[in-house]
Symmetry: C2
Amino acid sequence: MLAVSDAGSVGLVDRQFFTFGSPQEPFRLEGGGVLPEVTQCYETYGTLNASGTNAILIEHGITGSSHAAGKYRLDSPYAGYWELLIGPGKALDTDHYFVIAPNALGGCRGATGPQSINPLTNAPYADSFPTLTIRDMVRAQRPLIDALGVRRLHLVTGGSMGGMQALEWAVTYPELVDACCPVASSARNSAQAIAFNECMRRAIRLDPNWQGGRYYGGEPPRDGLALARMIGTITYLSDPIMQRMFGRKSAREESAAEHDLHIRFDVERYLHEEGEKLIRRFDANTYVVVSRAIDLHDLSRGYTSLEAAYQRIQAVMLLIGISSDILFYPHHIVEMDQALRRLGVDSTYWEMDSDYGHDAFLVEQDKLEQPLRELLARLPAPA
Amino acid sequence: MLAVSDAGSVGLVDRQFFTFGSPQEPFRLEGGGVLPEVTQCYETYGTLNASGTNAILIEHGITGSSHAAGKYRLDSPYAGYWELLIGPGKALDTDHYFVIAPNALGGCRGATGPQSINPLTNAPYADSFPTLTIRDMVRAQRPLIDALGVRRLHLVTGGSMGGMQALEWAVTYPELVDACCPVASSARNSAQAIAFNECMRRAIRLDPNWQGGRYYGGEPPRDGLALARMIGTITYLSDPIMQRMFGRKSAREESAAEHDLHIRFDVERYLHEEGEKLIRRFDANTYVVVSRAIDLHDLSRGYTSLEAAYQRIQAVMLLIGISSDILFYPHHIVEMDQALRRLGVDSTYWEMDSDYGHDAFLVEQDKLEQPLRELLARLPAPA
């Protein structure tokens, strides 16, 4: 499904970095903490027009990175996470748009996060990394956008936590955003999603290597982070797709005997593999900080009501839900759409029909092509 | 909701014990293991008739016990888990029926389980407790039923794992069962439910006190078991009820400030409390063994197909699903009902409309009264 042909790809890409702030002028977080220095790690595809108005900002999910399209090595089998959507001639057409994909603040894929060296102490932040919010992530992207010469964001989009950031952009900087398309996301995190996140954080903290988050230099809490990912993996899928992918199959091909009482179920193997894969590329402190940012996500914060936040929005909104999503249920997104329209915001709801659950925004990203094309076609062309 | 008036209660009850087996004639488990001795812990309410035909067998869920009705002390605030359904004049009317409620084999509430002393070693089974199945639980109840003088089971019922046992009774001993009412249960455990169980087992094993299950005499893996329960708790509820019960409320009444970035969400408090409650009354090895029995549950085992297993059933079947259940989705239960009816089994599906999710079979048990009464009214009276 994610097989990539080189035709239509942005090709070879590289990460770029942008740093701002100083101990004298630190970046101040919503929760009261400060970061003396913020580094943004990002990729860009396409060219910014002279008026700086053709930028599209892509925000990633909880364990994502800046690598939204293209490849780091041409012989690599791996392409960016939205490769089918970003490139010349694709829905997010790099022949027409300047696409920017940053790693979220707090992340561990190049952005300033708990692993980063605090310039005031010359040691990693670790457990001293301050409370972070989705709005902080967005506010910290503003200097990057400005430095790149971007005057308007023609579109901000992303799935899951990326959708939360897209929404925060539309509310926090309404004057900058032409269109906003949050996919499988929400205006504020639900109780059930908070509950899953708390179980994941608890799993990390249960690992004896956790050491209160001060594990850098020693063994990281791999088993705890792997268990967190195992739990997360269930919420990224759905009952029908798990039934189809695994059912009650055995993990070992040779043990086709469905009724082997010493069976290791294939779904168990899959969860453990997903856990093992994540620990090779992700940091536990980041998982704790960023999942907490997701829980704290509430568009209404700082406004008199959620409606007051919605009313700030000037962007054309396309809200996308996934029919089988159990982390961001479609009916919550429908409610957001209805509230936006009641308040006069130009909002549309579109539901992706998929059994893949939350993960569909990645594994069935081809289904996003048409609605994104239609959204962009509706907008006045960047001036 | 579970406030109990003494009128209609079976009143003071006590646990009873029944032991069978010997090193020479052990109980042989489906997986090949043996138990030299099996103790059943059970409660009974009402009186067996002379012909032994008015018995109702009640099976419990994963962390349940034999305490289905009445109280252990009259001044106790706690009554049995199905107190609203069992008693004189109630749906499971102890003026007419002899109700038997055992603790499942492998349990830690009186039945033989990993905590029990293996008579061959004079030490607890711990990690040497053999692989157990739902069918083993049912087969181990047969000698108890016989010893009590029961000739027919007028009804076998229970929720969740209890429903799995009810189904196994109807398939394994079809000639004994008049009616079978599994609530919020399944013919075989789903991939998603296996996935959640594997995360819970992993949580227990992640606790440094786990010690491969050989923790008796030392500190038990409380934190791991608590996390397992936290995960389970999410699956016992639903998105709508969590929204209603917790939303984004703070855990501390005094911190009503919804936008406190140092908030501890009420849903987090609840999960941790549920975890703490379970570790006071439950054993981690039992959780591992019994959750595995649930995963291995597959009515078709030992038969040529699931249909072949269904065709053995002689009982009148009432399958109950819960509209918001995310652990045993109603549509799986509807499929079972349709398959049973295609095969000529007298089966009916009834859906409990509830936002409480899987837990509704306990917290909204009053809604089960009418369908159970109607089922019993349809049956010929016990001879």
